[in-house]
């Protein structure tokens, strides 16, 4: 069984008395260690799908298994515990905590979520700082580093708990093309190094090609699955 198994997932949003179906029965299977991209125009359902996989939201229908767990049954606390153990997040706006240094931002999930011992925490954070090339900036605050560097810190923070899965919603949207490409390359490198599954959403055609598997979404439907070097219709 794959890391993520989605069977006919539906997601409805209620706006007043109107129900909007954001996902119309998506089914897919993602293996551990994959480097996946959800692609599609704005409003196609990419973020909705990532939110469901990341246990930030619940599907309205269908079945969604992440790391063998049926996430639709989670309560708020269970979902938080599951995310803390299994999922790392990378956000479009980096979402670093401004009052913490680069080091402390990366350390945060270990400290506040997993409560690991200080020695192990430091070692793990230093390894990741080295891996993302931010060792020199470890004592700087987020407002003292560039956008690309912030996203590197965010990648390190997402990986620090050694999660099975990292979800990145439009991770390069606020970066120039060169930096965006470097960030994607870094994510790929991290996948290779830590054997973590990376799923990112994007509508940037220039970086889409970097994904090994590409799911195309249109109007809430998964219209195609493309593998690097071939095509497999969903």
């Amino acid at each position: 069984m794959g890391l993520i198994v989605a069977e006919n997932i539906i997601k409805d949003y209620h706006v007043g008395e109107v129900t909007v179906r954001a996902l119309k029965g998506a089914s897919f299977n993602i293996e551990l260690g994959s480097f996946i991209s959800f692609v599609g125009p704005s409003g196609s359902g990419k973020t909705t799908l990532l939110n469901l996989i990341g246990c930030l939201d619940k599907p309205s229908g269908g079945r969604l298994l992440v790391a063998g767990m049926d996430v639709s049954s989670f309560g708020k606390r269970d979902a938080a515990v599951f995310r803390g153990k299994n999922i790392g997040f990378i956000f479009q706006d980096f979402n670093l905590i401004p009052v913490l240094t680069v080091f402390e931002n990366i350390e945060y999930p270990l400290l506040m979520v997993q409560n690991g011992p200080p020695g192990d925490r430091r070692k793990r954070v230093m390894n990741l700082l080295e891996a993302v090339g931010m060792k020199e900036q470890k004592d700087k605050y987020p407002d003292q580093v560039s956008g690309g560097q912030k996203q590197r810190v965010a990648i390190a923070r997402a990986l620090v708990t050694n999660p099975k899965l990292v979800l990145a919603d439009e991770p390069t949207a606020n970066l120039d093309h060169k930096t965006a490409y470097m960030v994607i390359e870094l994510m790929k490198k991290m996948r290779d190094e830590f054997k973590t599954t990376f799923i990112f959403s994007t509508h940037d055609q220039k970086i889409v090609g970097e994904a090994e598997v590409l799911y195309l979404l249109e109007d809430g439907e998964l219209v195609s699955k493309q593998m690097k070097g071939g095509e497999d219709h969903a």
Partner: protein
């Protein structure tokens, strides 16, 4: 916990101006309360000290029914020698009692041979009275600071009105309990400063002179004034004395004695209670200041950090920890305000103490205010501020902890 404090303090430093303004507001409230508590407390304690140390004593034993008609100084409700012996006997086993003084109180006429007026007198054993009322000598503003046989200590206003001075001869005339009138010439031995409260304008003579004027064959006593070592034990000593004396009953089975603390004998007790009530209101105002300012700041803090809350919730921070983060922030702000307020408050109180501010109260002039703060005052105010700060931050913190990460992350 250390890390939660670190984050809380950094967040407070992040909005430095707002933190300083809020902490200042709390500090001003704390300063106001401390200065009020110290000044009003100093005034209250000084007046209570005057009343108990120079007039009433801390408590008094009377024959049952005496206090109900105390304004008439009834000679028919005095304690006979056997009753005095019993009352004095009850004071002996109570180690908290420092001293006691039996008194004969009576009203009479005071004459300087050309004019006559009314006077209220205390016939006392000088040594016992001075021991029971250690501040009495400080009220003797002219003459020798002693009550001697054959002499009278005249209240200041009466001496001024009757134009008598130390060394002058005067006559005191009184009616005894049988209705016969008697008089005695006495030398003015001293002039007694007036004081506010019951007995504040009474004169003093030796108890043997009082017995002679009242033609007492055996000594009868109007009251026994008592002073205790620790004023804080006033109630417990009074209760203990009352229970010891309650075993003495008359033929009708009713108690022979009654014990009253200064509180029931002096109208200043009502003023003291008003001061306590005002202090309570001032503390309630402080609570309101802290509650509103902390809530305001924390509501703003939560609103401004919604996306941050969404981020930390998304990466797995449990709601309880998010709640703690904001509560600790409010707590830290409360501690900051309390510490700054306490330090400045202590400095102001010290300056006021050094300034030796004087004031008049009733007939007493030139009373010097010496405001001081007890550790318990500071502790109570600090605890109030900190608890209210935590309570004030609880609602915004709960709101933050209950936020859905997905909604918070979408917040612009």
């Amino acid at each position: 916990m250390h890390n939660l404090f670190k984050i809380a303090i950094r967040n407070l430093m992040r909005y430095r101006r707002r933190t300083i303004l809020t902490a200042s507001l709390i500090a001003i409230g704390v300063i106001f309360v401390l200065v009020f508590v110290s000044v009003s407390g100093s005034f209250k304690n000084m007046i209570i000290g005057q009343i108990t140390g120079s007039m009433l004593g801390d408590m008094e034993i009377h024959r049952k029914g005496y206090v109900a008609s105390i304004d008439n100084l009834p000679l028919t409700l005095m304690m006979n020698p056997q009753q005095v012996e019993k009352a004095e006997g009850a004071t002996n086993p109570i180690p908290e009692i420092e001293a006691y003084s039996p008194r004969i109180k009576f009203g009479g006429l005071f004459s300087n041979f050309t004019e006559t007026t009314n006077i209220r007198l205390n016939g006392v054993y000088p040594d016992m009275e001075m021991k029971t009322l250690p501040l009495l000598t400080s009220r003797i503003i002219e003459g020798e600071k002693a009550i001697k046989k054959g002499e009278i200590i005249v209240p200041e206003l009466l001496a001024r009105g009757m134009k008598v001075n130390v060394g002058d001869m005067v006559v005191v005339i009184a009616t005894n309990k049988d209705g016969s009138v008697n008089g005695k010439q006495l030398k003015v031995g001293g002039i007694l400063q007036s004081a506010t409260g019951p007995g504040g304008r009474d004169g003093y003579i030796h108890i043997e002179d009082a017995m002679e004027i009242l033609r007492m064959e055996e000594q009868e006593i109007s009251e026994i004034a008592i002073s205790i070592h620790d004023f804080g034990k006033l109630r417990s000593v009074a209760n203990s004395l009352n229970s010891d004396l309650s075993k003495y009953v008359n033929k009708q089975g009713k108690p022979v004695f009654e014990v009253h603390t200064w509180e029931t004998l002096s109208p200043f007790y009502n003023i003291a209670r008003m001061i306590d009530l005002m202090t309570l209101f001032i503390k309630i105002m402080l609570i309101a200041i802290v509650l509103i300012s902390i809530m305001n700041v924390m509501i703003m803090a939560v609103y401004e950090r919604i996306r941050e809350i969404g981020t930390i919730a998304a990466i797995g921070t449990l709601p309880g920890k998010i709640l703690s983060m904001f509560v600790i922030e409010g707590f830290s702000l409360g501690v900051l305000g309390a510490v700054v307020g306490n330090v400045i408050g202590l400095v102001i109180v010290h300056i006021l103490d050094l300034a030796k501010i004087s004031f008049d109260f009733g007939r007493q002039t030139g009373l010097v205010l010496s405001p001081t703060l007890q550790a318990s005052d500071i502790l109570v105010v600090s605890v109030i501020v900190i608890i209210v700060a935590v309570l004030g931050s609880l609602q915004p913190a709960l709101k933050a902890s209950k936020m859905e990460p997905i909604t918070a992350l979408r917040h612009v």
